[in-house]
């Protein structure tokens, strides 16, 4: 298989896999945060800030994949 063809297959699949992982992680994180907010609405602000930070870290993994897809897509 040529390198360009291999990249053409691998880039979308890789990005999809990264997004899948991030989606699962974000789902867990946000469901836990929602549960915590529901149990303790007084602390909602603090939980929300922590949740946004965590979500940013999880989401960053997909963004790394996305950036590398853009870098490599020039080679197709």
């Amino acid at each position: 298989m040529e390198a360009a063809t291999a990249l053409g297959f691998a880039l979308p699949i890789g990005l999809g896999l990264a997004a899948l992982g991030s989606g699962l992680g974000l789902g867990r994180a946000i469901s836990a945060a929602m549960e915590a907010m529901g149990r303790q609405p007084e602390a909602a602000d603090k939980i929300q800030v922590a949740m946004i930070i965590g979500a940013a870290f999880i989401e960053a993994l997909t963004i790394y994949a996305f950036v590398s897809v853009f870098v490599l897509s020039a080679k197709i």
Partner: protein
């Protein structure tokens, strides 16, 4: 707000200066295609032969002119909505093979992120000057907005850093405002988000990195700073772990700006490309009837971009605040926040319900 204006202005100017100066050089070394695109017509004609027709079409509008796919520099760029400088560059013959555009537009085109970043900074300066020009007891509309924003941000940062965090509010507030405006600038017609280029975000992240390290040095002193990087060894085991912990901490400090820059860049580029692709699609679906206007298929993504721009600016600022907080002496900050939390619990007077703001959320697990 008891802030000393002299210091604020200096820190803010430093941040903007770094942000504005460092783009450009880095990036254009990293994209050799762009150099080739401007180098000369002979080279361009040379490259023309190597490009398959219809290989990479930038916008839907180009599709009917396959001979114009000579933008080898552009082929690396993802599709985005055209901005003012790009259109001017094109109108002045920047992309045709037989004309040489004037030097000033080539300069503007190469440094367009810097241009738009400066424009955003100018807009923010004008708005804030306008709001604070004649300060009144009963504020006018602009002063009201500026005061509302500053007060909200002040309490937000103090909520994270605890009391004593006032001195970091100007830097972090500037960071938030600047990034937020830059993110939103891509949604203004004929404008471009400077943060959709890696140079701008790298410059911001580097300035945050330098500020955080400097804060650490100033607060801890050189010896305690190195000790902090070595993981604050207390006993024999701690000292034995130093050869492992020191490189680990140094690498993690260096990884912070990289992740900050890539996160912002990737998110903003992603949303701009999404809007660009769907706008192109909206034009393409009506292309067969030669309609002068397209279907606004990108409209929902503009709403998404509004949300994402705000969230990403907030995340960048929040993470910067947390990096600063990690550099401050742990014991002092911890004691102060505990005292504040205890006072909050006392003040809340919630008899019967266990309001545990002081950090023991684990007590909920047993319910």
């Amino acid at each position: 707000m008891g802030m000393r204006p002299g210091k604020d202005v200096r820190v803010t100017l430093l941040a903007i200066l770094i942000a504005v100066c460092s783009p450009g050089g880095l990036a254009h070394a990293a994209t050799p295609g762009e150099h080739a695109g401007h180098a000369g017509q002979a080279q361009r004609a040379d490259q023309l032969e190597h490009v398959e027709p219809g290989g990479h079409v930038d916008q839907a509008g180009h599709a009917d002119q396959p001979e114009h796919v000579d933008q080898t520099g552009h082929a690396e760029h993802p599709p985005e909505l055209p901005n003012l400088i790009h259109l001017l560059y094109k109108a002045l013959g920047g992309e045709a093979a037989d004309t040489a555009p004037p030097a000033w537009i080539v300069l503007c085109y190469r440094f367009q992120d810097v241009f738009y970043a400066l424009l955003v900074a100018l807009i923010i300066i004008v708005i804030v000057r306008w709001g604070t020009r004649r300060m009144e007891q009963i504020p006018g509309p602009v002063q009201n907005v500026v005061e509302f924003f500053i007060e909200g941000f002040h309490s937000f940062i103090l909520g994270i850093l605890g009391p004593g965090g006032e001195r970091y509010v100007p830097f972090l507030g500037t960071l938030f405002l600047y990034i937020w405006f830059m993110n939103l600038f891509g949604l203004v017609p004929l404008m471009k988000s400077p943060t959709a280029g890696l140079n701008t975000t790298a410059a911001l992240a580097i300035s945050v990195f330098l500020y955080v390290q400097w804060t650490g040095m100033r607060h801890l002193g050189p010896i305690r700073y190195v000790k902090h990087l070595a993981g604050d060894p207390q006993d024999v085991v701690g000292w034995c772990m130093v050869p492992l912990m020191l490189p680990l901490h140094v690498i993690s400090e260096l990884a912070k700006p990289v992740s900050l820059a890539l996160r912002l860049f990737g998110n903003i580029l992603g949303e701009d490309v999404l809007i660009g692709v769907f706008a192109g699609l909206g034009i393409a679906v009506l292309a067969f009837v030669h309609s002068p206007v397209g279907v606004p298929l990108h409209l929902p993504f503009i709403l998404l971009a509004l949300l994402m721009s705000t969230v990403q600016a907030l995340v960048f600022t929040l993470l910067s605040a947390i990096y600063i907080m990690q550099m401050l002496p742990h014991d002092e900050v911890g004691r102060e926040t505990d005292a504040v939390a205890a006072a909050a619990v006392d003040g809340a007077r919630t008899a019967g319900t266990d309001l545990t703001l002081s950090g023991s959320h684990t007590s909920l697990g047993g319910r």
